[in-house]
């Protein structure tokens, strides 16, 4: 009875998983194909991949003479037109190298565009996350562990920033950074992102710090430890999980933010992955489908790596009710 119900649930859930993943699977598939292939037969595997599989089969079954490719004879690469070539027998290794070259064409081409965007994104994400964590956790620590005149009001004012929708401040923020002379720099991204990350970070940090037992702090205080010593030796070592949650949420937001870098940086030197992808889509780079699909794939890898390492603590953090209203 129970097993039967589980099979049904698995069937429904797997169906939904496939529907969810379908566009991304086609992105992966089409990032390995030429425009002609895509137009000719949308629902097909990359032809170079099929050839590679066939040649491997020939190699294993000892029919090397059937491994044929339209390759110019060695030393004459420049002189012969590709269309006039006849297929000729090539060694297995060389054929594989050639097919690998064909398959990764989109990836190699898009990487020349994507590389600087990636580096900018890494830099901005890391500096922003580090800044938010250091500044936010210090403030949260002070607001959580000390009573001083105005502490409640100061906390509420920080929280109230969360109520301000970005759509209200988008245009005036642009006018502000323009007047500050920050346009076309990394600071125009990092500083507003750090400010924008404060409220959420302080809220999460403070609720975590509030739960730490006071005895931990008392004994250290008796030993004469100051604010920063308490913070460094007691608070920080205990808060690794919550730091991870704040860092992940922050990096996710920064990595995905498209509009702000798009508006503020007209110099391509400072574009990040999100705005860079959009710009690539506007230029002739996008006429090759495989280039764009390869760029989507490559731009997902950094977060995929983060995802693999951070899923467990993150699921724990969400399950513990960090997102309950």
């Amino acid at each position: 009875m129970k097993a039967k119900r589980d099979y049904l649930l698995h069937a429904i859930l797997l169906g939904i998983v496939i529907l969810t993943m379908l566009p991304f699977l086609f992105v992966l598939n089409n990032s390995l194909r030429t425009n002609t292939e895509i137009y000719h037969a949308f629902f097909d595997m990359p032809s170079a991949l099929k050839s590679a599989l066939r040649f491997t089969w020939y190699e294993l079954t000892g029919r090397q003479e059937r491994i044929q490719l339209k390759l110019p004879p060695a030393g004459q690469e420049e002189e012969v037109e590709a269309a006039r070539l006849e297929p000729r027998v090539v060694p297995y290794g060389e054929a594989m190298k050639q097919l690998g070259h064909t398959l990764t064409r989109g990836y190699r081409y898009c990487w020349t565009y994507l590389r600087p965007y990636m580096l900018n994104s890494f830099f901005v994400c890391l500096v922003t996350a580090a800044g938010v964590i250091v500044v936010g956790s210090l403030s949260a620590y002070v607001l959580s562990r000390y009573r001083f005149p105005g502490s409640k009001v100061l906390f509420l004012v920080i929280l109230s920033v969360m109520m301000v929708p970005p759509v209200l401040t988008l245009v005036p923020s642009f006018l502000l950074v323009r007047r500050l002379g920050l346009l076309n720099s990394y600071w125009v991204l990092i500083l507003p992102y750090m400010a924008g990350g404060q409220a959420f970070a302080i809220y999460v940090f403070k609720s975590f710090f509030d739960g730490l037992p006071e005895e931990l702090f008392e004994s250290a205080r008796i030993d004469g430890a100051g604010h920063l010593a308490l913070y460094r030796h007691i608070v920080l070592p205990l808060s690794k999980p919550v730091i991870a949650v704040v860092a992940i949420v922050n990096i996710l937001g920064t990595w995905n933010n498209f509009l702000w870098p798009f508006i503020c940086n007209t110099d391509p030197k400072y574009h990040v992955v999100a705005s860079g992808l959009f710009l690539m889509g506007q230029t002739q780079v996008a006429t090759n489908f495989s280039t764009m699909y390869a760029a989507y794939t490559l731009s997902s890898i950094p977060l995929l790596v983060l995802f693999v390492y951070a899923t467990k603590p993150f699921l724990k953090g969400v399950a513990s009710g960090a997102f309950k209203a």
Binding site: D6, H10, I12, L13, I16, L19, T20, M21, P23, V27, N30, I38, F42, V135, L138, S139, V142, Y146, F148, I158, V161, V164, P165, V167, L168, T169, L170, V171, S173, L175, L176, R178, M194, A195, G226, H227, L252, N256, F258, L259, V273, A274, S275, L277, F278, G281, M292, Y293, A295, Y296, S299, S300, L303, F307, L315, V318, A319, F323, K324, A325
Partner: protein, 301 residues
């Protein structure tokens, strides 16, 4: 008086440690917040002197030919998003939660979260090109089953564009929403389920009468978040259609963007932002009130 003195000194260092946060917030949050309202009262183009015009930006916006259509587009898209964001992730979360193996439950939670690694811009561009494009997934699928006559540019046809935008992200089951519902479902105590079982509650009826009311705070959270995102979100539409064809998929946020960054009309753009701000504020308060009363009703029962 060494004691009060030390207290003052301690407080001073507290304020000092709060200073970085407050410096950042003052410059990049409070100033833009104030400027949004003040700039909306000026006629202001970059490079020219602003002139005070009172409320005329607001009058101009309310008389703008895009005003009503863009709000109705926004209302449709937001309503659609709220519906699907409540129903689909909750259903999937319940399905996952009903699995008997803990490992399978973990597997599905991870797999449904995985699509968040694809950048938002890329998702929109993938839907615009690969799914809705001329030689895209939907059109090729239609052609391959002999319904090629139905193939069209889904995002460039006035009659399909809004529905096409609304369906971006189908089946709406990825991301963090499922986890939020899942957390809510797993907080329901086992004794509630047992009592419901003894009272004869089964299947859909039990789901609607027991589970749904008990995850109301999660539903509330997602309704508010989706409402806010729907009212102010225009990045997706900017990437998908730029408000086209014509003005068929224009939304207020996008019109604000065009006024600011294409037509250089900063005052009018700020006025649109202020209008949207009050709309969001009003709906948030309404939502909190309504759901709070619903929750207290339930508690009273």
């Amino acid at each position: 008086m060494p004691r009060s003195r030390s207290r003052i000194r301690k407080s001073w260092s507290c304020y000092l440690l709060l200073l970085p946060t407050y410096l950042l917030l003052s410059v990049f949050s409070f100033v833009p917040f104030y400027w949004a309202f003040s700039t909306s009262l000026y006629q202001y183009e970059i490079g020219e002197e602003p002139t005070f015009v009172g409320l005329s930006n607001y009058r101009e916006y309310f008389a703008d030919p895009t005003f009503l259509p863009s709000f109705s587009n926004m209302a449709f898209l937001t309503f659609f998003a709220v519906c699907v964001n409540v129903v689909f992730p909750l259903t999937v979360a319940k399905l996952i939660f009903s699995l008997s193996s803990e490992r399978a439950r973990y597997f599905y939670r991870v797999i449904f979260l995985a699509p968040i690694v694809v950048p938002y811009v890329a998702v929109q561009m993938i839907w615009a090109g690969l799914v809705y494009g001329d030689a895209g997934l939907i059109n090729e699928l239609l052609r391959s089953i002999g319904l090629g006559s139905l193939a069209r540019g889904w995002l460039s046809h006035p009659r399909t564009v809004l529905w096409a935008i609304a369906f971006v992200g189908f089946p709406f089951a990825s991301g963090i929403n499922i986890l939020i519902y899942y957390a809510g479902l797993s907080n329901i105590s086992q004794s509630v389920h047992e009592a419901a079982w003894l009272d004869g509650a089964r299947g859909l009826g039990k789901f609607l009468r027991i589970d749904v009311p008990l995850v109301l705070s999660q539903i509330k959270l997602l309704v508010i978040l989706t409402l806010i995102a729907g009212i102010q979100g225009f990045e997706g539409i900017f990437i998908l259609t730029r408000g086209g064809p014509g003005f068929e998929s224009m939304v207020p946020g996008l019109w604000m963007y065009f006024n600011a960054f294409s037509f250089q009309r900063m005052g009018l753009a700020c006025a649109i932002g202020v209008v949207l701000f009050f709309l969001i504020l009003g709906l948030t308060i309404l939502n909190l009130r309504y759901f709070r009363s619903a929750e207290s009703l339930q508690a009273a029962e």
